[in-house]
């Protein structure tokens, strides 16, 4: 008597699941399609790049060869990497203690919000004076200039995330450390920092991506040797037309490492964000 009912229930459940899987698969297709297309563009012979309906063709490695071996793109990647890493390190070094202080000493209720609000500052307003200062300092066209500019948006975001993470750590932990014979600062870096490490990693990844993706500041502040990858990608769009094939290679080269990183960290990212940063 109960068997048919149960079967009905099960199949309904299975149906829902199939529907969910279908929608998710569709979303995945929408996300992956441009990548596929870009990849095809990177190995298409030049005369076929403008043909939307060509899926089979003799592939060419010329674009890959040109970009990886005979262009500045590898150097641009290193530049981007150096800039992003330096930005993140500085952001963590300055943001971490401050976030800890904001979290622990209950600095005014609006503080954490104004930290976030700092991120909203339009780059356009900061770039003019930054440009002039960096220019005075002789730092235009250097990676240092880009790092400095990227700090303007990476530091607030990283700090803000960290405040959330520190909030999640029970106060007793550092009190225990202080009773155990450590100063509050020692408690901070010997006990709290190791505990908040997943949070630090999440914030670092976020900061890294923000810096890695920026083109606006880098466009204005870098040149020649110091060009970062997004600027280089934009550079394939010249007055003589976009070199689609090469640009496709550059885009893939820019994206793949980040995708690999994101693949491995996404789980931690979700978990550690859930731990704290998504709350006020």
């Amino acid at each position: 008597m109960t068997a048919p009912t149960q079967d009905g229930l099960l199949s309904r459940r299975r149906l829902t699941l199939v529907a969910i899987e279908f929608v998710v698969a569709l979303a995945i297709a929408i996300v992956l399609f441009p990548f596929l297309w870009i990849f095809l563009a990177s190995i298409k012979p030049p005369e076929l790049v403008t043909e939307p309906n060509v899926w089979m063709f003799p592939p060419t490695a010329a674009n890959w060869h040109d970009v990886l071996l005979e262009s500045d793109v590898p150097k641009n990647i290193i530049n981007s990497f150096v800039v992003s890493v330096a930005t993140v390190i500085i952001a963590l070094v300055t943001g971490c203690p401050a976030a800890y202080s904001f979290s622990r000493f209950k600095t005014g209720s609006g503080t954490r919000f104004s930290v976030l609000a700092a991120e909203m500052m339009p780059p356009a307003i900061l770039i003019l004076p930054l440009f002039l200062v960096l220019f005075r300092l002789g730092l235009i066209d250097t990676l240092a200039a880009v790092v400095l500019a990227h700090l303007t948006f990476v530091v607030p975001v990283v700090t803000w995330f960290l405040i959330g993470f520190f909030d999640e750590i029970p106060r007793e932990l550092e009190e225990q450390a202080m009773i155990d014979g450590y100063t509050q600062f020692q408690a901070f870096y010997k006990v709290i920092l190791p505990v908040v490490r997943p949070g630090l990693a999440a914030a670092a990844v976020f900061g890294f991506v923000l810096s890695w993706n920026d083109m606006f500041y880098a466009l204005i502040l870098t040149g020649g040797e110091s060009r970062t990858l997004p600027v280089a990608i934009a550079g394939f769009w010249t007055f003589r037309g976009i070199d689609m094939g090469k640009m496709a290679v550059a885009i893939l080269v820019a994206v793949v490492p980040i995708l690999i990183i994101s693949f491995f960290i996404q789980k931690h990212l979700v978990r550690s964000l859930g731990g704290g940063a998504v709350k006020f």
């Binding site: 005369e47 466009l219 040149g223």
Partner: protein
Amino acid sequence: MRTQKWLATALFAGAASAMVSGSSLAGSLNIIIEEVPDYDVVRVLTEKFAAENPGIEVTFDAMPFDAMRDKILTSALASSATYNVIIVDNPWMEEFAKAGFLTPLDDFIAADSGYDFEDFVGPLRDIGVVEGSTYGVPYYNYALGLIVRQDIFDEQGIAVPTTLDDYVDVVKKLTNDDFYGAAMQPQKGYKVMEEWKNWLYATGGELFNADGDITINSPEAVKALEMYIDAFNTSAPEGSVNWGFDEALRAVASGRAATMLSYNWMLPALNAKGGMSGDLAGKFTLNEVPGGKAVLGSWSWSIPANVDDKDEAWKYISWITSKAVAKDRVIAGGAPVRTSIISDPEVWEKGFGEDYYKTLLGILEDAAPLSSGTSAEELIDIVGTELSAAVSGQKSVQQALDDAAKGVERAR
């Protein structure tokens, strides 16, 4: 005069002002250059210069167009230039010269006996002249020409149009369901301005009259824009209202359109075997724009005012633009600027053939810059925005041109 500038910079951090940036070392030339095929040619040729002048180390800072303007500006504002040699786009020439960023080159040119400055095509040469002084010598041109699919014209027995009225008729006639008479570039700003201004010349209009009054909303301009919109609506690919140079080029290259107004030196690229146009290679020809007078673009070599060793900079410029080197450059694929080179049979033979060069010379000699004045860059944007608004139907032709005139008046 400089006190004002320092007053402004007094706001800088104290430590900052003590440091001076980017001074170039003696014996080294740092050149800012746009990353285009012409640069590849120049870079290779320069190795020869370096070999001849072991004391001078030449480095290029190549970048996309959009990054160049503020880089040049930065260098010009410094107490000592980052770039000893710069290239200047024609809309910037007057602006930079009047801002005091550039060195007058007249004395250098006069002192250089075999240089033959007059050999540069007149309209190109004039771009470098501001209020009687020469601030730039031509690097390469990007004058516009009419690029057509000759095979289609031949097939249908149609002559390549020489007047605007003919042109509009022809592109309408050539348009059918999946083929278009003209690939146009009505993208806001530079692109639409660059294209439409050819139409403006063809109807006898100009942006300013001889007295310098704004004539952007003159009846000629209205007519030019109306015809432009007519052609766009009837003969250009659907949904191409935002197209720029790239899309138009690709549409022509992939056989979707019969004609385009574009840079003259695109022709060799279109006709190159194994290039972007595949089987269509060889079927394109270059012609003068309908109406004859073309929009001229050019890059010029200049020496910033704040360069320490100007002799060295001139040494390079005069070398790279000298007749001998210019010939090598053009043969290697560079866009020509000297009359003697364009007319040189050796160049015809090793380059892209007599027809191409003769047409090119015709275009160059009857051409005028896209825009001039100290606010040329802004002017292009203002007019280009209004043109785009009219093409996309957001404004009436008269309204758009009136607004353009108003905007230009303010920017001046």
